[in-house]
């Protein structure tokens, strides 16, 4: 319930925190980088639970499902493939922005 109630603010705070921490990506702090990603995904998950996308059409839900599946593959590559982290981060940001726009619209209707 706490996640549901405070999901929005919690997610935004974590997103800002993540953007701050992501600046450390270009430094040599791999542990900090990994923690930042985990925190980031908790933020995304809390946003998801808070918005409850009931009214999305089934075709859009299918799209979200495939995006999340591809994101799991993407994150796996980020942690296992050398020189892939920065590119993988581009896709993380794109996917999050897509989900936020979809769910915000749904919330406003």
């Amino acid at each position: 319930m706490a996640i549901k109630r405070f999901g929005g603010r919690f997610a935004i705070t974590l997103l800002v925190l993540f953007l701050f921490i992501v600046t450390f990506i270009y430094t040599n702090f791999p542990e900090l980088r990994n923690v930042a990603l985990i925190v980031f995904f908790i933020g995304v998950a809390s946003y998801f639970f808070q918005t409850k996308p009931k009214r999305l059409r089934k075709e859009v839900k299918l799209l979200v499902f495939f995006m999340l599946a591809a994101q799991a593959f993407n994150v796996y590559l980020m942690f296992t493939v050398p020189d892939y982290f920065r590119q993988g981060m581009v896709y993380v940001v794109l996917a999050v922005m897509t989900l936020v726009l979809l769910f915000r619209k749904e919330q406003n209707e």
Binding site: E59, F73, N74, V81, D83, Y84
Partner: protein, 177 residues
């Protein structure tokens, strides 16, 4: 204003005509490249450690799964809900896509380096933005074609065309188109 439907996967009414339109776009991009060699579509880089594996192929094919839903889907719809017409929203998302492509892949990840050496920085960057912008604009037209006869917007044909282009470039072992 009529309700603006979010784009999804499936549900479109004109999948094949949309797909054929996208195929025509690819031929158009090839023609553009022959006329203006600096018009490069840079594609995501594949790390050398997985370039020869299935993961490398999947990686380059999965990029459209993130780019199409944002630029042709959520961002375009957000612009439409702000009151912009189809053409205005399409043009803006296409320009953002062109700049994103050039910044993220071309400049930050260094895929434009060889084109910059060949044509100079200004021509290479301009050509890259132009090519990706045209491609982005055409891809939303492809999505719009799935809405014929009352269908809902379907991103799948655009994703397939986009992934096909990326995969073709990957298989030809070149990072610029």
């Amino acid at each position: 204003m009529s309700k603006i439907e979010d784009a999804g996967i499936g549900g479109g009414g004109g999948f094949f005509s949309s797909f054929l339109t996208g195929f025509g776009v690819l031929l158009g991009m090839l023609t553009l490249k022959s006329v203006f060699p600096a018009a490069s579509i840079v594609v995501p880089s594949v790390p050398a450690s997985i370039a020869d594996s299935a993961k490398g192929f999947l990686l380059i094919g999965s990029a459209p799964l993130f780019e199409e839903p944002f630029f042709r889907g959520a961002f375009y719809n957000w612009l439409r809900r702000k009151g912009l017409s189809d053409r205005q929203a399409n043009a803006i998302q296409a320009v953002f896509f062109g700049v994103f492509h050039t910044l993220a892949y071309g400049l930050v990840l260094g895929q434009l380096d060889s084109v910059i050496v060949a044509f100079g920085a200004f021509t290479a960057i301009l050509g890259s933005i132009l090519a990706a912008t045209l491609f982005g604009y055409a891809m939303r037209i492809v999505v719009n074609r799935t809405m014929r006869n009352g269908g809902t917007p379907n991103l799948l044909p655009a994703m397939i065309i986009h992934a096909g282009l990326n995969a073709a470039i990957f298989l030809s072992l070149a990072v610029v188109f």
